[in-house]
Assembly symmetry: C2
Homo-oligomer: 354 residues x 2
């Protein structure tokens, strides 16, 4: 059987569905943002890992190595925050082909270090080896959370309010923009180089003015530690949470499936930045499609009890987009004109796209 | 600067030398077989990670996927045992190109699962993604050890006895054999296929009779949990320990550098299987060179106090090969004819070999 017939999620399910934890200390295995290992002193340990491969997850023709290092760390930190936890340590493994210089790897590592320092995380180990082909980055993050306080995907309850942090779809628009400008840039740069009398070769750079936010969201995402702190300060404990890496639709379906419930979200409530909306229009896309299916937002999706409505309402950078329903009502999007659609987990099925 | 100018160890040192742990819970960061994170209930947490890349660490033309999965786990378990710890959980990340079928990945995962089950380790997470090129495997293992009882590389003391488990050089000879037979096998197999009247196509298989041990050591190494248990039962606590993945020379130099000492080992004491010796002769190599510089033995190298000499002497599958000296005496090999040589960390510098 070909792997694309199963897809990424199908393959993971196929490989892991028969795994049964045997260690007494394994509280949560495969199936959430992090695994949970029981600790003591009132703390549990969180473990998450992500692999980033050149050509699949990043294109070095437009991603600076320092940004790539920074982002590689952030995608892991985001998973720890999505459990309500605090990241503490990290291992960093690199597969490096000989086209990279020591200075290149320094740039990459500078980004990794900067991200770790800004979140107080120690680099404690890793593996560095040669690669015959592209750059490979594999990071594992270790964090902790108060005992039995990890926020799972499976805790959402009927009538809970669905919230998201920040805004959605911008990272995807940033990616589209970079991919489009890549060709233009290469062409213009070549011309500028061929004309030594060109008074300003920098003029050949594509003009990203007014799109800085989209580029930043794609190239330098920030894991939402601040949201976790804000919720804690407000005395709000989410019933379920995960980070949005594959698009809102896909993540909401995960929460509904794992919690055994349905949901209704409202198009008009989905937070979308105006730069995202403008870029979506340029690409002939609906901004809401970007928000639902565009990936790499690294925002937090979570549910809170209805009783916490007022507490959440005043919190900066958090938007209530709908509510949890009984399972039989399905997972539904209510559009601005009152129509209802089923949410689809389109997401980033890179394995099926090959 | 080109990476091969620094080499693998040089690059790791360059990238990590300025890293200073800031988390109170980080007991040991980069620089040993595992990182150590302080736990409680009298336990510390161990973390180790390894990345295996197709074409660098394995060649699928002669490594069956199930064996590869098994070995990928063992190399991680070996690092946990080398701290005197017990492995508990594991994350498994795979980068898979489309030339693999679901059945292929099942084979790989069967090997991973078998290895985990035989050592009582839970698979608790990972990442599965598409790869544009070869197969990528990144595994992180989490273990524990009694508080402050992790055995570091830095604890060897003058007059300690140097011991190794098992025998050395066989995995390297297995690799050489497989690489040589690969061409022969492909040729013979082609002939057998072109001749449908061949009564026994299996006869085209290369004859590995008498070399099974070498192949097993290369394809299906076993992490030495038994040695850790044997030492514990005998009441022996090593002063330093690491696993032998890059060759005895390289690892002994690590221990000496990190412990601030020298060593003397004796050629005649280095345990070498007779199959290794025969194969080395075929390849015009000194068996001792295989043991010193061949990689992937996954045996344990450790030091014990001189007072434990008698306790260790009777232990099965453990050989005393020399002793620790003061730093100024250097790291020396005494050959059978009484000559002395400096040990060299030739090891597996894959980054310099490209």
């Amino acid at each position: 059987m070909q792997i694309h017939e199963l897809g990424e999620f199908g393959l993971i399910r196929h490989l892991t569905e028969t795994i049964k934890p045997t260690q007494a200390s394994t509280i949560q295995g495969v199936g959430d943002d992090c695994a949970i290992i029981s600790g003591s002193d009132g703390k549990d340990t969180l473990i998450t890992t992500d692999m980033l491969l050149e050509g699949i997850h990043f294109d070095l023709t437009y991603v600076p190595l320092k940004h790539l290092g920074y982002k590689s760390v952030m995608v892991n930190l985001s998973d720890v925050y999505a459990m309500g936890g605090t990241p503490r340590q990290m291992t960093v493994s690199l597969g490096i082909s000989k086209r990279f210089t020591v200075e290149d790897i320094d740039d990459l590592y500078d980004g990794i270090r900067l991200a770790c320092e800004s979140h107080g995380v120690d680099i404690v180990g890793g593996d560095t080896c040669a690669s015959l082909t592209g750059l490979t980055i594999s990071i594992t993050c270790i964090g902790d959370v108060n005992h039995e306080e990890a926020i799972l995907r499976s805790g959402a309850k009927d009538t809970d309010i669905i919230c998201v942090s920040g805004d959605l779809g911008a990272a995807y628009m940033g990616l589209r923009l970079l991919a489009r400008e890549k060709a233009v840039y290469e062409e213009q740069y070549k011309e500028a180089r061929n004309n030594p009398n060109d008074p300003d070769p920098e003029a050949a750079n594509p003009d990203f003015a007014g799109r800085e936010y989209l580029l930043e969201r794609q190239l330098k995402p920030e894991a939402r530690k601040d949201i976790i702190e804000r919720l804690k300060d407000a005395g709000v404990r989410p019933t379920s949470m995960m980070d949005i890496s594959d698009g809102l639709s896909s993540e909401l379906i995960h929460i509904c499936k794992q919690s055994g419930c349905g949901c209704r979200i409202y198009e008009e409530r989905i937070p979308i930045d105006y730069q995202t909306a403008i870029a979506a229009e340029e690409f002939d896309m609906s901004p809401v499609t970007c928000a639902l299916n565009g990936g790499e937002d690294y925002e937090l999706l979570f549910t809170v009890p209805l009783a916490d409505h007022e507490k959440v309402e005043g919190l900066e950078d958090i938007t209530m987009i709908g509510y949890i329903t009984k399972q039989e009502y399905g997972q539904r999007l209510i559009t601005n004109d009152g129509q209802e659609f089923d949410l689809k987990a389109q997401g980033w099925q890179a394995l099926t796209e090959q």
